[in-house]
Symmetry: C2
Subunit: 140 residues, 2 copies
DNA sequence: AATAGATAGTTACCCTAACTAACTATTTTA
DNA sequence: TAAAATAGTTAGTTAGGGTAACTATCTATT
């Protein structure tokens, strides 16, 4: 057999599907998927922002953002306000959206804690930093 | 604004698309995608194995493996031998497949080195271990 | 002030990467 | 030997994302 030991990047990729599926299971009670969750989270953090900003920050193309926002509006979790610049649409959470966000935020935090229980917190921080460094390199 | 700092899991997910796209770009010259690459790599490591083994080790359902193997056969990178148990099919690399694998393996290694240049190698190892620990927790 | 170019968002259509359900062909087991 | 299990396939579905081409509006240049 060749060169067996999995590298950092093998481990990285191995984790992806199980991780996303586990998160999706938890989001399902509010009819959400991770892609929508990421956007909902960003809207909550920024309080109000345009679709173009969402596209830029999530690094997802505008048509994908449009679709996600349409879904979040259908679910009643976000609402849209016309910008002063009439091309722009500002998105913000509805009351219901804020509730759902808060509830899922709690649940996911506790899930993430479970997943990392017993792991040295310095090591977790190192991991976070390393993943960010790789992302920065990739984007540069 | 709320609770801004991205967590380990935010960083983990942020990296995924840019990473997969970058890898896919490099695989494209041999008409491959990461999902197929993962399977090609496993076949190379195991030298010969059944579709069921591939499904189990990649944690992908059998129909997905069937499709990937069909594609790899079309490309002439793998071939199939009937098992003694007539239900089984053993997959192995063709000569061409072995060449392509070796060439891409080199190129990807060097790409991964670029992505991690300047990062402490202990920190890289810590990251690898932490990602594995999280995966194990997720699967348990 | 008019027009050419840039920007915000949408629509239509495409692709990868997976999934489940239901099937056939074999092999194992009770 | 009949029932259950296993290997693989086919058909159909979904999430998640992309590109091309469009409309509407705004900005900048002549």
């Amino acid at each position: 057999m060749n060169n067996l030991e999995p590298t950092l990047f093998d481990s990285y990729r191995d984790l992806y599907r199980p991780y996303v599926n586990a998160v999706n299971n938890r989001l399902a009670k509010h009819q959400l998927y991770t892609s929508q969750w990421v956007v909902l989270r960003l809207i909550s953090i920024k309080e109000s922002c345009t679709l173009a900003e969402l596209a830029k920050e999530t690094r997802v193309e505008k048509p994908s953002v449009t679709r996600i926002i349409q879904k979040l509006m259908e679910l009643g979790y976000v609402e849209i306000k016309q910008g002063e610049d009439k091309r722009e649409k500002y998105v913000q959470l509805t009351e219901r959206g804020a509730e759902v966000y808060a509830s899922l935020q709690l649940e996911l935090s506790s899930f993430f804690n479970e997943l990392t229980v017993g792991i040295d917190s310095e090591d977790l921080e190192t991991t976070r930093v390393v993943l960010n460094q790789i992302l920065q390199k990739l984007l540069s």
